[in-house]
Symmetry: C2
Subunit: 319 residues, 2 copies
């Protein structure tokens, strides 16, 4: 919390002209949820970049009035470390999020926000809790609103909500694994903040960990090209979000269900939100979706006999 | 040109705080190239949205100091028409790009930019020429630079460059079609402005027109999940861009070629740039890439016997 306070103090001290979220893969997807909230809630422009694109495309608006939030689980992702150095040289306020404060990323950035990982501590000190605390604290500094204070308070419920929603969706997730264990391709879909959950599930769980072909399709884009691939035997996992873009998901589900016999709908409004105010559900939904989707991957791992820890390239070679 | 002048005049008359590019599918991909150039060249923030996401997520910074550029080939895409109305109600300067000035989109937006389509007129009056003219005129108004004036002049070479580059890549494109005619999935990759060419090829040509499974992977993201899907028999079509993000593409190509026997590299620096100044090549590359990639789709259509005009849902039902 002291670390977050230092970061927030730094944000308060500059005239913030823009916010950049910079990371790779699953970390980029997680940060993109912050980008979505900033975009929707306040008028400060924000954008998310994969780290190497950020460096090489060199956005003109990056400078001393910029906040650059970077994230890497281990803090060792080379492109993200470079991006932190690059942004810092341009005079931006750099905030690194990682589980390891001694990591190269945390050393490269000016400010560090640490989260706990698998050490038995509460979810609020884990990656979700810490990132939400940072984002909603920034929102509250840039455009104070009692709503954001309530989000910060209600984050204390995350631990129990993760547990209850895991239980709630366990059977369905493992059934999905059984039903889809022979599939060579599974499409995912989502919109709003949930698009990034679909992206993460596609890139990190299906393609990386399970070696199943995939593509995360935005439910608003589905009708503009991708939907022609739909057929009776094409599997889709579609996130039906909690929040303003839900109508996009509903439309895609209605169409996909008409022409495919293999549509799995993960309805985020049906999850347990105990302790969360009605008007705050849309903020908590993406965090809950992440936990639930992870279980769908566990179900596939169980039934394909392909553990999520298996890799053929990562950790085995330089690239 | 009068239409573009009116749009530019409107841009000159507001204090531009941000630029939004709003469309669906292939039109969104085309606009996203403009978003890339704005981002790289000037400090005015810009962002691209699929139309329905734009309306429902309702970005807070949208208002009377916003420029909203919308695009639809026919001008009838319902979400984009709604997005134009939505942006106009918020007081933004709305500019619609379409081949039909009588279309609902052109009626909904305040300013209209028309392009010719398959009527035998020069490329500069077609979708690429007109969009480039608009984007580089806006750049030149917001941050005048002789470079942008040279781009505008050299757009007159597009007609010949499209023709010469079609010839240059014809054999290779049709050979690709022959080699890949039995593939059920073909991944595409790219970065920078070319990421959007990859997205367009994946969504509109492979998935929509050819019913081939695909996913457009950013070459910077490839190493953070998707690369684990790589194997000797997995086909990739990778755009090796002309511009600052080329090193990202080179790295992805090097890895993919090591583990897959089916890597097709489309090297944009090897194209014909006659009449284009060396420092302007990166601006012209994406337009040339689009023309070249279209030919790769023609090659697949020829060898799969699946014409690009076939649809199973579009034009056949309401959705």
């Amino acid at each position: 919390m002291n670390q977050i306070n230092s970061s927030i103090k730094a944000v308060q001290e500059v005239e913030v002209k823009n916010i950049f979220f910079v990371a790779c893969g699953g970390s980029l997807a997680a940060l993109s949820i912050g980008d979505y909230f900033i975009d929707r809630e306040i008028s400060v422009p924000s954008k998310a970049y994969t780290s190497n694109e950020f460096i090489h495309s060199n956005p003109k608006s990056l400078g001393k009035n910029s906040i650059v939030i970077l994230r890497s689980h281990s803090g060792t992702t080379p492109e993200t470390v470079e991006a932190a150095k690059f942004a810092r040289e341009k005079g931006a306020v750099t905030i690194a999020i990682s589980m390891d404060t001694e990591s190269p990323l945390c050393q490269a950035a000016e400010y560090t926000v640490h989260y706990n990982y698998k050490d038995g501590s509460d979810v609020i000190d884990g990656d979700n809790g810490v990132f939400y605390t940072l984002v909603f604290s920034i929102l509250n500094v840039l455009d104070p609103n009692e709503k954001y204070e309530r989000v910060l308070n209600q984050l204390n419920n995350l631990e129990e909500l993760f547990e209850s929603n895991r239980k709630l969706t366990y059977d369905r997730a493992f059934k999905f694994g059984e039903e889809n264990k022979r599939e060579e391709i599974i499409y995912t879909m989502g919109s709003g903040a949930y698009y990034h959950e679909a992206y993460s599930f596609t890139s990190c769980l299906l393609m990386e960990m399970l070696w199943i072909n995939s593509n995360a399709i935005h439910t608003g884009e589905y009708f503009h090209g991708p939907f022609e691939i739909t057929d009776f035997d094409v599997p889709f996992l579609i996130i039906k979000g909690e929040g303003p873009t839900r109508p996009l998901d509903e439309r895609a589900i209605k169409f996909a269900e008409k022409f495919s016999n293999k549509v799995e709908v993960v309805d985020i409004t049906q999850l347990d939100y105990s302790g969360i105010d009605e008007d705050l559900k849309e903020y908590f939904g993406p965090a809950l979706a992440g936990v639930v989707l992870r279980q769908y991957a566990d179900g596939l791992a169980e039934h394909t006999g392909h553990p999520l820890s298996v890799r053929r390239y990562m950790w085995k070679m330089d690239y």
